[in-house]
């Protein structure tokens, strides 16, 4: 099992750091899946995460100048590593002006991702900062736990409002309640509601637009026959939503959510080179 990669371009490095920062805000530990062409950051829906799960996918070619990997075996040419994204975020934080960043999988005392940052210095030789981030290698028999989640059979799919606005609304609501209700309909209306003994607050968004989903095998046909005004709603943990919104450092190209009434809310945030999916289960 080997892995080496190198980033030389500063813009790519900054973009990659931002993605890692976003993920670090969402989960304490996550799984990094490496394939020849892609990197995946996966958080599975175990109880420890409050049932929320995440799937983030990026093409290595968009970030790395060099990328070589050898998986556990020829027919399973992938590597699954468990790591703390905060560590990776911290390692990259001070690499803002780096000449190059190399990432390598090593095994000195224990398996580590070694991030070596080459920084410019006043003298002829560069400064080299090395961070050894401990990782856990996930054996092949457990890979099934980390499959790509399928898009749920949703009732309503709607584009999200401007994330900054949504974030400040949710942040204020967080002070009042632990749960928030998201409801939306196929006419582009979305409401964010909280309700406590003392107060209930609702924020209305209109004209958001509903993304068209190609109906395959007629599985989405139920959505087409749905009343345009009727709301699909789900009550979710407000902290999870706030974490998702707070972690977004750049405005995504597309941001939408799929709501399955009283079951789950599925957020999809698409950037040019990376896609992030976040599932928050509904609470009764």
């Amino acid at each position: 099992m080997r892995f080496r990669a190198k980033i030389v371009d500063l813009a790519c490095l900054n973009h990659f750091s931002r993605i890692i920062n976003t993920i670090a805000k969402l989960a304490k530990t996550c799984v990094l899946r490496l394939t020849v062409s892609k990197l995946y950051f996966i958080v599975s829906d175990k109880v420890a995460n409050g049932g929320a799960s995440m799937w983030c996918e990026l093409c290595q070619g968009n970030f790395f100048d060099e990328f070589q990997m050898e998986g556990v075996a020829a027919e399973h040419n992938e590597i699954y590593l468990e790591l703390v994204p905060e560590n990776l975020s911290r390692a990259l934080k001070t690499a803002q002006s780096a000449k190059a960043v190399k990432i390598k999988l090593t095994n000195k005392h224990c398996p580590c991702l070694r991030v070596a940052v080459e920084l410019p210095s006043l003298s002829s030789s560069s400064r080299i900062v090395t961070h050894d981030i401990p990782v856990g290698v996930i054996p092949r028999r457990m890979w099934n736990d980390f499959r790509e989640p399928s898009v749920p059979d949703f009732d309503v799919s709607i584009y999200l409002p401007v994330l900054k606005t949504m974030k400040s609304v949710v942040e204020r609501m967080k002070n009042l309640s632990n749960f928030i209700v998201i409801e939306a309909n196929l006419s582009g209306d979305m409401n964010l509601k909280i309700e406590t003994d003392l107060v209930s607050v609702t924020t209305h968004f209109k004209d958001l637009g509903n993304p068209p989903w190609a109906s395959e095998d007629g599985c989405q046909s139920s959505a087409q026959s749905r009343d345009l005004e009727s709301m699909a709603e789900a009550r979710i943990d407000i902290k999870k939503l706030q974490q998702l919104l707070a972690g977004q450092q750049v405005n995504p190209t597309k941001a939408l959510c799929n709501i399955v009434t009283k079951r789950i809310v599925h957020f999809i945030l698409l950037h040019e080179e990376v896609s992030l999916q976040y599932f928050i289960p509904a609470i009764a």
Binding site: R90, C110, C112, S123, S125, R127, I128, V129, H131, D132
Partner: protein, 407 residues
């Protein structure tokens, strides 16, 4: 003023209290942390201040002339005075410090813009100050570098990082996170920075060494030296011997002396992380603690170490400091042979010399010192105000514990 404020902050990182020690040549501030493993010394020469007035009045019949009135202050009370150093620079026009030994008060007075005057009256305790004995010129390894470089290096380590290891060979310099044999590598992230000798203003490595010291205590000095933009000198030796970070220029000097971990005695180390302040127990001669023992030269003090005989002997051979003739050097006046002490305690002792002043026999009047955020050009104008303020502070009634008066 920024510089003074930063000095206070830096010292605050070492301990909760510090010694405020005005002498003829200037003002010395000292602090020792509770486990005696870190010592900070900042000396502002009288030229640093716009106006520095210090008087010593001693009774004629005393043989030893008491030269100063050392006193001990609680940092927490002083820190608010200099809390927002950046804001201070903008708002405060002048700061005056005066002491009144009779009723044990020090007054800090900030004259701010728009006629606002903030006065802080703080009580102090009389006590003997400590002075660390450390022979800087005997250190085989000396590095000198601008504080910016050190700050850039430290930024890569998490703020929670307690200890780091500095490893030098003539070819390279390396700062890395400290690890022991029983470090759980699967949980800890390790960071290492390699620098080439060319990056240092002065680079001398006499002996390859790896020293481990507490980073937290150092960060204060780094912030302070950035304010002064004076380069930092690092003097050290093999592991176990203390490491000194110092800055020096015409107006001020500062030294932070930190104990370093000695590899060979790790098994004797206590399980707590090295930089947790440990309760000082002068009678702990069973389990050698990790931190240097304080060798006071008052015979009544127990030297915790079983080789105390040797230690006592060495201590007695130090001529007692009654005159601080070398105020700048933090104890470099004494060159100490290491002795066989390293075998007992993992940390090589920072040897302290207690200058026991017979202060109670002398009466001091330390008038006041002024320094302001503005340039020195205004010295003439200040001369007039000085007089009136001096009398004012002397005749003012006691305000009580801590009071700021606002117009």
């Amino acid at each position: 003023l920024t510089v003074f404020g930063r000095a206070i902050h830096a010292i605050a990182r070492i301990s909760d209290e510090f010694w405020f020690d005005p002498i003829e040549k200037g003002l010395a501030l000292r602090s020792v942390n509770s486990s005696r493993s870190a010592y900070a010394y900042v000396f502002f020469s009288s030229m640093f201040f716009q106006h520095y007035c210090w008087t010593a009045v001693s009774e004629p019949h005393q043989k030893e002339k008491q030269l100063s009135l050392p006193c001990k202050l609680i940092i927490k009370s002083v820190l608010p005075v200099f809390r927002c150093v950046n804001v201070l620079e903008r708002n405060v026009e002048k700061c005056s410090i005066s002491t009144n030994p009779n009723d044990h008060h020090i007054t800090f007075q900030l004259l701010c813009r728009h006629g606002v005057v903030k006065t802080y009256n703080l009580t102090f305790q009389d006590c003997d100050p400590l002075q660390a004995v450390f022979a800087k010129h005997m250190c085989p390894n000396i590095l000198k570098v601008h504080s910016r470089l050190l700050a850039d290096v430290m930024i890569h380590f998490p703020t929670s990082q307690e200890e780091i290891t500095l490893s030098v060979t003539p070819m390279k310099v390396c700062f890395k996170s400290y690890t022991e044999e029983d470090t759980d590598f699967s949980r800890t992230m390790l960071t290492e920075i390699q620098l080439s000798p060319e990056e240092f203003d002065y680079f001398q490595v006499g002996v390859d060494s790896e020293v481990t010291f507490c980073l937290k205590e150092l960060r204060g000095l780094l912030a302070f030296s950035e304010a002064t933009s004076v380069p930092v000198s690092i003097h050290f030796d093999r592991c176990g011997k203390p490491i000194a970070f110092s800055i020096e220029d015409l107006l001020l000097e500062a030294s932070f002396i930190l104990a370093t971990l000695c590899e060979a005695e790790k098994e004797a180390a206590s399980p707590e992380p090295a930089c947790c302040p440990q309760p000082w127990d002068s009678n702990a001669d069973t389990a050698p603690s990790k931190y240097p023992q304080w060798n006071g030269n008052t015979p009544s003090k127990d030297l915790a170490n079983p080789t105390s005989a040797l230690a006592k002997q060495e201590v007695k051979s130090i001529p007692r400091l009654t005159e601080r003739d070398v105020p700048g050097r933090a104890g470099a006046a004494m060159a100490e042979a290491a002795g066989g002490e390293a075998t007992e305690a993992p940390y090589q002792k920072i040897r302290y010399h207690v200058a026991s002043y017979l202060y109670k026999y002398c009466v001091f009047q330390f008038h006041s010192l002024f320094f302001g955020a503005v340039s020195y050009k205004e010295k003439e104008a200040i001369g007039d105000t000085f007089q009136s303020l001096a009398t004012a502070s002397d005749t003012e009634e006691d305000f009580g514990a801590l009071q700021s008066s606002q117009v």
